[in-house]
């Protein structure tokens, strides 16, 4: 057989196929010519005045007995400043935080506040934890007509136009706590607290509330701030037949109180404790095993599932470490910065005299929910929540007011004057101090 004819035939066939292939390829050429006007786009310029920042002071106890509670608040405050700076600052200026140490000492707080206002010329001071420190600083802020953003729940009985109270007023923490405990835990309350103005004032309100509810106070004990001996109190509790312990102890004394409580065999199931000054921040220090199953009343828990909170927790952990936790005062400190920022923006000025005019009525979507500065008293409208401590140190929210509650600094059990009289008695009883100075009060708040 002649191979030539095979090769030729195959080549013929293939060439036809390749031919068609190329013909196909050639079909794709079709050009139209035209002109299109080109648009020029200029990016908007946005410059931040780096030379002229808005200075703000952060005054917290970074050392001493209150450091474990206050240091995280300082951190969350810085976080908020960072966030705002990241978003362009205020009025085209960066916020520059001046961080100073209150050293868990009232005098230091007083000095540092004046320093910040006078020397640093800050536009606002974010700081304080104990009511003692606040009350010590208050005259300074009023003197300079300046602004203090105070981030902690407190006893109320105060309403300064120079302080923005971002923590809870008594009716936003203590009273709802009592109401919930009365309904859910029992009617017999044992009150224990640190011997300074907040526990005393808070318990005064609590007693009024218990009486109003028809419950009974089976005991009321105080220890000075920083005290570590709670055995006698615990023995009294054991004997008291109390249903609920209402704890207003502040600082590291809480460690000793719960240690003693558990050493005396009182578990949270036997007599649950509702604390008003223990948050996620103190858990590591306290030892969660000691307080697991107990309760706390706050406006904010880290476990809140609001988007703003998730964002806040995430940012905080991103900045300070994933093992870190957030708490109510931290949230209040953080929120304070935003309220300050909104007010400054609204007033177009970082002058406290001007922006404090605008801050009343300002609302904000905060990690704890929608808050607003009550135009009547510069306290925040906020939601009250009760959480149960879980073994992991987080709180499970078991109660929520759902609706934001307007702050009532002066519970209506007494008139404002009567409350002031009550405070005066304490102040003067403690030798013109806002805490029991019976022991070495010099390093106590």
């Amino acid at each position: 057989m002649d191979n030539r004819y095979v090769t030729l035939s195959v080549l013929f066939g293939i060439s036809i196929i390749i031919g068609t292939f190329f013909i196909f390829q050639l079909q794709f050429d079709d050009q139209i010519s035209s002109d299109v006007e080109l648009a020029e786009v200029n990016f908007p310029g946005f410059s931040i005045d780096e030379q002229n920042p808005i200075k703000v002071g952060i005054l917290h106890s970074l050392t001493g007995t209150m450091a474990i509670s206050e240091h995280p608040v300082m951190e969350s405050t810085v976080l908020a400043i960072d966030e705002i700076n990241q978003q362009g600052g205020l009025l085209g200026r960066k916020i520059l935080p001046i961080i100073v140490d209150g050293e868990s000492n009232l005098e230091t707080f007083e000095k540092q506040a004046e320093y910040l206002i006078e020397e640093e010329k800050v536009s606002a001071v974010f700081g304080g934890w104990t009511s003692a420190s606040r009350k010590t600083m208050l005259p300074i802020f009023e003197k300079y007509d300046h602004a203090l953003f105070y981030p902690v729940q407190y006893e109320g009985l105060e309403s300064s136009k120079n302080i923005v109270y971002t923590g809870a007023a008594p009716n936003q923490q203590v009273i709802p706590g009592i109401e919930w405990a009365f309904e859910n835990l029992g009617t017999k309350f044992f009150l224990v607290g640190s011997d300074y103005v907040f526990p005393r004032s808070a318990n005064e309100i609590i007693k009024e509330k218990i009486e109003e509810l028809g419950g009974s106070v089976v005991g009321e004990e105080y220890r000075i701030l920083g005290d570590s001996n709670f055995h006698s109190i615990v023995q009294k509790i054991k004997k008291s037949d109390a249903d609920v312990i209402l704890n207003t102890i502040n600082g590291d004394s809480n460690v000793w109180f719960f240690k003693a409580l558990r050493e005396h065999g009182i578990s949270s199931k036997m007599i649950p404790t509702i604390s008003f000054s223990i948050s996620e921040s103190e858990m590591g220090f306290l030892g969660t095993y000691r307080v697991s199953g107990d309760y706390a009343s706050w406006n904010y828990f880290q476990s809140l599932t609001l988007p703003e909170n998730e964002n806040f927790v995430q940012n905080f952990k991103a900045k300070y470490g994933s093992d870190r936790v957030t708490s109510d005062p931290m949230e209040a400190g953080y929120t304070g910065v935003y309220l300050f920022a909104k007010a400054v923006e609204k007033a177009k000025s970082d002058d406290p005299k001007k922006y404090l005019q605008e801050i009343r009525g300002i609302t904000l979507s905060a990690p704890s929910g929608i808050v607003g500065v009550d135009p009547d008293n510069q306290h925040l409208v906020k939601v009250v929540r009760i959480g149960q401590i879980q073994p992991d140190g987080q709180f499970t929210i078991i109660f929520s007011s759902e609706e934001p509650i307007r702050p009532i600094p002066y519970p209506d059990y007494k008139t404002q004057d009567q409350w002031h009289g009550f405070l005066d008695d304490l102040y003067f009883g403690w030798d013109r101090q806002w805490a029991n100075p019976s022991l070495s009060g010099s390093d106590l708040v």
């Binding site: 196929i17 050009q31 648009a39 786009v41 946005f46 205020l90 607003g372």
Partner: protein, 748 residues
């Protein structure tokens, strides 16, 4: 096998290839073209469809955004509290409560619609009532077209543009220039528009509205200026024409598409162009409904055509394989078709070569087997007829060879190609001395001309019968023979040779000669006797004649008419006797010829003048003339005889006697003289005897006239013969040589 198209196997290959390949190629090509065409169209349809879907998705995306913003603005709480914000003083509890609710509502909205970054509330005069951001708005939205539209009741989207404000991108990085857009919606109460809600919308998730399968696709949303407004990438807010390749032909495509899409709503590339990265892409641009945006879908040409290219390869491979298979099968069939035929061909070739021991093909196609068997049968009958031919040939050969008569075969050129034993023997040659020689070598010189004539006759007619010829033996002696020849023809009927039978006539000739001699002897005795008688008669006859003349003259006046008649009768009688005696003497006496150059015309003219011509006869002498060597006196005798014969033949009736001369007879060597009368002619039974001596039909004739004439002519080396027809008369023909040779003396 021969390598040209006329061979069977080549034809069958070509046929099968044609039958197989052409449809395969045609079908293959049609299939290929159709498939690739449809796939390409499908691809473009897909791209168009993807582009269209993309455009619709973005429209839907934008529409969803507008609906959402509208739903926020339509919230009853928002409406009522917006009214309160307008109604109550800042710092009042009512204002605070209203703002608080708005904060809640907007917060809910921001959380529900995570793509809304900021909400701003204006009253219907352009005063800011509320905003969700920490910082106040950087744009006076009331100057923007979307708010103007919203003031007329429409929820409207603005342009996507780089944010003036520092905002977060999707990676939570804050900066200006982040793509952003605003959608505004009227806050409409029962009495009319109470305010405007402006939502800052993150357009980054626009890509969620774009086709999910982004493999190989590049999609862009551009505004009417060609500015890329989405999705967010490093090309955002660049003009798609800015970085176009300089290749004008290609880059124009995108521009022209854009122009086209602006007018028609959609356009796609046919050939593709180079995108900003220099990659060749196909593109489809679709106008996004209800916007002045366009959706640009680009897909890498190579990626897009990958499947088609793969398909092309598969198709080409398949078609090629099919074609190869067809070629192979064709070749196989052609081979199986041609193989038995080749065997047959080989068989036939062998048979042609003489092979007779043929093995038939017993397996394979029935036709081939049958054909093979037929071939075998044919070969058998061939063998049989070959044998018959052989024996016939042998018989013929024997007949030819052993025949007592001479046989020879000469080819058309006159050369000996065969002869038999008798031939060899008679001529005294060996056979191989004969073969190949010219036949004229066996003819004596004197008869070669005759032989040539005979050969010519044979060549012209193919047949020669009993021609007298002389043959020359090897020793030079000659003998007479009779020659008859027939033609041998080839298959086509062409004469190729002459089979010649030659009969030795020596014996017959000798016998004839003896008879002739005897006759001549007898004649000579008679002749001598006659001559003596004649001679003896002449003297008394002269005496009688003279005496009669004297008596006549003497008694001339005394005689009456009756006596005169008697005298005349006497004279005529004396004349006749004298004439007859002269004839006899003429015939017998043969004095030598006196050859001279003479004019035939003169001779004939003289002859005519000597003869008394009756009035009723016309003599036509020849008009031409020729001079030949001859004995004029003798020829006069011949012509006198012939003319007189003619006149006598006319028998006193009117007639013509014509004498013609053809001086160029037989190529000019001879002269033909004819004496023609238109008398009654000579009967056939007499014409043969006309030249015999003493034959006469007339009372007064001696019967020696014509024999004398013939004798004279032959002594001139000429011939004389007669033809006659009872209707047209008689013609005597005399042929004389023009040139004098050796004249043979008459033997008589």
């Amino acid at each position: 096998m021969k390598k040209h198209f006329s061979s069977f196997s080549s034809k069958s290959i070509i046929l099968l290839l044609f039958v197989g390949l052409v449809p395969a190629i045609v079908i293959g090509t049609i299939l290929y073209v159709d498939k690739i065409d449809s796939e390409t169209n499908l691809l473009y349809e897909q791209i168009d469809s993807a582009s269209e879907n993309g455009a619709l998705n973005i429209e839907r995306w934008l529409s969803d955004k507008k609906i959402a913003v509208d739903s926020i603005a339509s919230d009853k709480l928002l409406i009522s509290n917006t009214k309160k914000l307008k109604q109550f003083d800042v710092g009042s509890n009512e204002f605070f409560n209203a703002q608080f609710i708005i904060e809640e509502q907007t917060n809910t909205a921001l959380n529900n619609f995570e793509w809304i970054n900021e909400l701003i509330l204006y009253d219907n005069f352009g005063n800011i009532l509320f905003y969700t951001d920490v910082t106040s708005p950087t744009i006076n939205h009331f100057e923007q077209s979307y708010v103007i539209q919203s003031l007329q009741g429409k929820t409207t989207a603005g342009e996507i543009f780089p944010s003036f404000k520092i905002i977060a991108d999707d990676q939570e990085n804050y900066s200006t220039g982040i793509p952003t857009m605003f959608i505004s919606s009227p806050i409409t109460g029962e009495v009319g528009i109470e305010g405007i809600l402006v939502a800052r919308v993150n357009p980054n998730n626009m890509h969620l509205g774009i086709i999910s399968d982004t493999n190989g696709f590049n999609h862009l949303v551009i505004n009417s200026d060609g500015l890329v407004i989405g999705p967010v990438s490093n090309t955002i807010f660049t003009n798609i024409f800015d970085n176009e390749q300089q290749s004008i032909q290609k880059s124009d495509s995108l521009r022209s598409l854009f122009i086209l899409a602006k007018t028609t709503g959609a356009a796609h590339t046919e050939s593709g162009y180079f995108d900003t990265t220099g990659k060749e892409v196909l593109s489809s641009i679709t106008h996004i409904p209800n916007t002045d945006w366009f959706y640009v879908l680009e897909v890498g040409k190579n990626e897009a055509f990958a499947n088609i290219n793969q398909l092309q390869i598969v198709l080409i491979s398949t078609i090629s394989l099919t074609i190869i298979a067809i070629v192979w099968v064709s070749l196989f069939f052609a081979k199986s078709l041609s193989e038995p035929i080749k065997k047959l061909q080989l068989l036939a070739e062998n048979i042609t070569k003489g092979e007779r021991n043929v093995l038939s093909i017993t397996s394979g196609d029935k036709e081939i087997v049958d054909l093979s068997n037929s071939l075998k049968v044919m070969v058998e009958s061939l063998i049989e007829s070959e044998n018959k031919i052989k024996s016939a040939e042998e018989k013929y050969r024997k007949l030819y060879e052993d025949a007592p008569e001479m046989y020879r075969t000469v080819n058309i050129d006159g050369y000996m190609i065969d002869c038999n034993k008798a031939y060899c023997k008679k001529l005294g040659y060996e056979k191989d001395e004969i073969i190949g020689k010219s036949l004229y070598e066996f003819i004596p010189e004197s008869h070669k001309e005759t032989m040539r004539e005979i050969f010519t006759v044979w060549k012209n007619s193919g047949d020669v019968r009993n021609k007298e010829i002389m043959l020359k033996r090897k020793d030079g002696t000659v003998f007479p023979a009779l020659l008859s020849a027939t033609s041998v023809t080839d298959d086509a009927g062409n004469v190729i040779a002459a089979n010649t039978l030659i009969r030795d006539m020596s014996d017959l000739y000798n016998a004839q000669k003896e008879i002739e001699e005897l006759r001549i002897k007898r004649l000579s005795v008679i002749g001598e006797l006659t001559a003596r008688i004649a001679h003896d008669l002449r003297n008394p006859l002269s005496v009688i004649k003279n005496s009669a003349e004297i008596l006549k003259i003497t008694y001339q006046d005394k005689t009456n008419d009756e006596q005169k008649t008697q005298w005349d009768r006497l004279e005529r009688g004396i004349y006749r006797i004298t004439h007859q005696v002269d004839d006899v003497l003429d015939y017998i006496k043969t004095p030598p010829l006196k050859i001279e150059e003479n004019s035939l015309s003169v001779i004939i003219q003289d002859t005519i003048e000597r003869i008394q011509i009756p009035d009723e006869v016309s003599i036509h002498p020849p008009t031409n003339d020729v001079i030949i060597p001859c004995d004029a006196e003798k020829l006069e005798v011949v012509f006198v005889n012939l003319i007189m014969n003619a006149i006598q033949a006319l028998d006193h009736k009117a007639g013509d006697v014509t004498i013609t001369i053809d001086e160029k007879h037989k190529g000019g060597q001879y002269v033909l003289i004819q004496v023609i009368d238109n008398g009654p002619g000579i009967p056939n039974d007499l014409i043969e005897k006309i030249f015999d001596p003493l034959f006469t039909t007339r009372q007064v004739g001696t019967g020696l006239g014509l024999p004398s004439c013939k004798n004279i002519i032959e002594r001139h080396n000429g011939t004389m013969n007669v033809t006659s027809d009872t209707n047209f008369g008689t013609t005597f023909s005399i042929i004389l040589p023009k040139h004098h040779e050796k004249f043979v003396a008459s033997e008589i």
